[in-house]
């Protein structure tokens, strides 16, 4: 699939092809292991299989939003205000929002099987919903009218504020009383209570989703550059045409 898409791609390179191929390989392993090879959980039974896509997608969404904040800070701090930082921030946030949406949907399906409810306004779910809404807002801010510089400045400020929600989401199960279970891997005690193949498959999921994230962000930020150049060329051409018309009159 990746190779078919790459052949027609304007933003592909040898590196993205390698990353794409690796992402497909690891993803296939995650699907096979997650659905077939891993055992049922002693309490949750088969529903534990949702964990192998739910947890990695949440982690990669966090990672994406952190990258967005770092790139935004880099844009604000750097003297040149390189638009590359802004495009990276935007691309990373878009991919992050997609992974956050996956987290919410898969979590909802998992919740129905374990808690008996698709959704409850408990601390983890409420803060996660708020995080998702915030980053949809960030993407809306990026599409407001204005110059590229204005877009970059506005969205950088939003990104640096929005990233502060991530610790709140992660520690919501520790700070408050939540229906959502506490962290298994990233728990404060560091004592991971999970069978070996389950844990290996979970980490494989993290690797697969990280590769997908890198692949998507590379393509998306290059696409943003192409769109920016095409828009600038269109504007230059329009001004040149109007100048020609004016000089003829």
């Amino acid at each position: 699939m990746s190779q078919v898409l790459q052949r027609t791609s304007a933003t592909g390179t040898r590196a993205t092809k390698v990353i794409g191929a690796l992402a497909i390989l690891v993803m296939v392993w995650v699907v096979v292991s997650g659905l077939i090879l891993t055992p049922q959980d002693v309490v949750q039974g088969e529903s534990v299989r949702i964990m192998y896509v739910h947890v990695p997608s949440a982690w990669i969404a966090y990672l994406a939003f952190i990258f967005t904040a770092v790139a935004s800070a880099s844009w604000l701090i750097s003297k040149k205000h390189s638009m590359g930082f802004d495009r990276f921030a935007g691309a990373s946030a878009e991919v992050g929002v997609m992974f956050m949406a996956i987290t919410l949907i898969t979590g909802s399906l998992w919740g129905r099987l374990t808690w008996g409810e698709f959704w409850q306004w408990d601390p983890r779910l409420t803060t996660t919903a708020f995080l998702f809404v915030t980053y949809v807002g960030y993407l809306a801010v990026r599409r407001l009218e204005g110059s590229a510089e204005q877009r970059a400045r506005r969205s950088a400020v939003v990104a640096m504020l929005a990233v502060l929600e991530i610790p709140l989401v992660h520690f919501s199960v520790v700070l408050w009383r939540s229906l959502h279970q506490g962290a298994t891997v990233l728990n404060p005690n560091g004592d991971v209570k999970m069978d070996d193949l389950m844990l290996f498959t979970l980490f494989s999921g993290v690797v697969a989703f990280t590769l997908v994230f890198v692949w998507l962000v590379l393509h998306r930020q290059r696409t943003m550059l192409l769109v920016d150049i095409a828009n600038r060329q269109g504007l230059d051409a329009a001004i040149a045409a109007r100048k020609t018309e004016g000089s003829v009159r």
Binding site: P39, Q40, D41, V42, V43, Q44, G45, S47, V48, M51, L113, T114, W115, G116, E117, Q120, W121, D122, P123, L125, T126, T127, A129, F130, V133, T134, V136, G137, A140, V141, R143, L144, E145, W176, R177, S178, L179, Q181, G182, A183, T184, N187, K193, M194, D195, M198, R242, K243, E245, G246, S247, R249
Partner: protein, 155 residues
Amino acid sequence: MDLTPRTSETSRKPRRWLPIVLLSLVGLGGIVIVTQFLTSAIDYYCNVDEIGVRSGCKESTRLRVQGTVEQGSLQKTGGKTSFVMSFNNKSINVVYAGDPGGVFQECISVVAHGRMIDGTFESNRIEVKHSNEYAEKNADRLNSSGSAACSQAQG
């Protein structure tokens, strides 16, 4: 030279109102989440030992109560499920109109929604609060009297 804006545009105009509408909806969504849900989310439940003791856990109001289903207390009769729910050495009797289904079982933590009526907690919603431990399902590990959760709780 005439540089006034053209009135007839052949190319598709971007919908400039869309981000503003989206941003307004996002703002509204954020406000609703914070004002309507965040406050109740922070105090999602009262523990069994806090009923009538902690503020916000009055017996006279509808409550969400968290505790563990006592081993050997689960009974299903006449379409109702009854069990003893405990936390911190305090217990209450719970009656649920129906079968909670899913992974509900003895020794598992649950959040029951309902009211205290004549010393019994009458619940119309049970949510299972799963632990953060994951282990392979293995028939050998289950003891004869208890559920999978009891077996996990006993190590």
